[in-house]
């Protein structure tokens, strides 16, 4: 492996991936595969399905030579967006909801990633920070946000689950995101994370 590629910034690695460079793709996976798998696992609660989703997401980046546009955010946000779309597809069109409930009930064993590098430690810290901001939201705003983003539920399903009018659910999602944005900005300003 060209150590040179490992020293490149994400944006430059993506240029090489777009040119069909398998080594650059491996670097991309090493940097973001864990976060992608973690997101998929959080959404489907099942290792095998999370593996499938992560593999499909990364293969779609490789095979379609998707070009990353820095104007739309970081490479990590972009990769996670691709995996999130795949996972939403899986939970909406599979029998995932039931599996996820089982997983939430503790059927799946946990397999927390060890902190091996400074980067991983920083990501854990970032995750903790976002979770703290999310947990600080009022329940009636946090729950619809989590059900929508991680559960793949539509707002009408959420309204049914929470026994609230649809308009109320949509309004609370918007208010909750506003509050989350402010909290993240404050934490960022206070040196929480960039």
């Amino acid at each position: 492996m060209a150590a040179d590629i490992r020293n490149l910034a994400d944006e430059e690695v993506m240029q090489l991936v777009g040119d069909g460079n398998a080594q650059a793709f491996e670097v991309l996976y090493d940097r973001h595969g864990g976060a992608a798998y973690s997101l998929a696992y959080r959404m489907v609660g099942n290792r095998l399905t999370a593996e499938d989703i992560t593999q499909e997401g990364f293969l779609s980046i490789w095979r379609s030579r998707l070009r990353y546009d820095p104007a739309r955010g970081s490479v990590r946000t972009w990769v996670l967006g691709i995996v999130h779309n795949r996972a939403i597809d899986a939970v909406r069109h599979g029998a995932m909801h039931e599996r996820r409930r089982q997983a939430i009930a503790g059927v799946e064993e946990r397999h927390e990633a060890p902190e091996r590098t400074e980067v991983e430690a920083a990501r854990r810290e970032e995750a903790r920070s976002v979770r703290t901001a999310l947990d600080a939201l009022p329940d009636d705003q946090r729950r619809p946000i989590e059900l929508a983003y991680f559960g793949g539920y539509s707002h009408s399903q959420i309204a049914e689950l929470l026994d609230e009018p649809i308009g109320t659910v949509k309004g609370r999602i918007r208010l909750g995101l506003h509050k989350l944005r402010r909290q993240l900005a404050e934490r960022s300003a206070a040196g929480g994370f960039a």
Binding site: G18, Y37, L66, D69, L80, A113, A148, I173, L175, L177
Partner: protein, 231 residues
């Protein structure tokens, strides 16, 4: 746009960012977004909060076999690609400089999609034949009918395309100056026939292509094209 219009859409911004609108609602919201700077501002404001959500999850270790099997596939495909003899074809099939199309652009494309079907009528047309990925869609064919110089879009007609699983649709794309612009989604009948209006100006496009996407369409293709009409 009336104030009432805006008020009825304002609360959709959050649900839209989290993917919680139905397909119809999403399309209506994107049409509204195209003409509402306030909602676009709100979308930009809330985007970082939505983008932070995947970063909140507890990090778990992917099984090592995942990387092994992924890299086996990728390295094999990289070797196959490098042994392809026809550089022109390879260039055509690559998707350089993909633009991460903004929801707004998708919305405008969808809005135009309604118009295009009406605009394209009877004037002199030319037909371009698609190159088909025979391995993935064996027996399929497609033709692109372009009216005049293509400034008013085109119609793509497909035949022999397989029916897709529930929740999956075909989506058309226009490649131009290294960017891939989303076009409407479409489905095929029992015999695999179907058509889709391409609302984008295709007169300076490099290619029109088709992929399989989740219902509602994607902002960027999630797989290699199943078929491609080089222009």
């Amino acid at each position: 746009m009336s104030a009432r219009d805006h008020a009825s859409y304002r609360d959709d911004v959050g649900a839209y960012l989290l993917g919680a609108l139905t397909d119809l609602e999403r399309q209506a919201f994107e049409r509204h977004l195209a003409g509402c700077p306030e909602c676009r501002d709100e979308l930009e404001r809330l985007h970082p909060a939505a983008a932070s959500l995947p970063r909140s999850v507890e990090q778990v270790e992917p099984p090592p076999g995942l990387k092994t099997s992924l890299m086996e596939l990728v390295e094999r495909e990289a070797r196959e690609r490098s042994s392809l003899p026809a550089p022109r074809r390879r260039r055509r099939l690559s998707l350089p400089r993909l633009a991460f199309a903004r929801p707004l652009i998708a919305g405008v494309a969808l809005a135009l999609g309604v118009v295009a079907g009406i605009v394209l009528a009877d004037k002199g047309t030319r037909t371009e034949v698609a190159t088909v990925d025979e391995r993935r869609v064996p027996g399929a064919s497609a033709r692109l009918q372009i009216e005049g110089d293509g400034e008013n879009g085109a119609i793509l007609r497909v035949q022999g395309m397989p029916s897709l699983a529930r929740g999956r649709v075909y989506q058309a794309w226009v490649q131009r100056d290294g960017r891939i612009v989303p076009q409407p989604t479409f489905e095929v009948g029992q015999r695999g026939g179907g058509a889709v209006a391409i609302p984008d100006d295709v007169h300076d496009a490099d290619a029109v292509m088709v992929t399989r996407e989740p219902r509602g369409g994607s902002r960027a293709p999630s797989e290699r094209p199943l078929l491609m009409v080089p222009l």
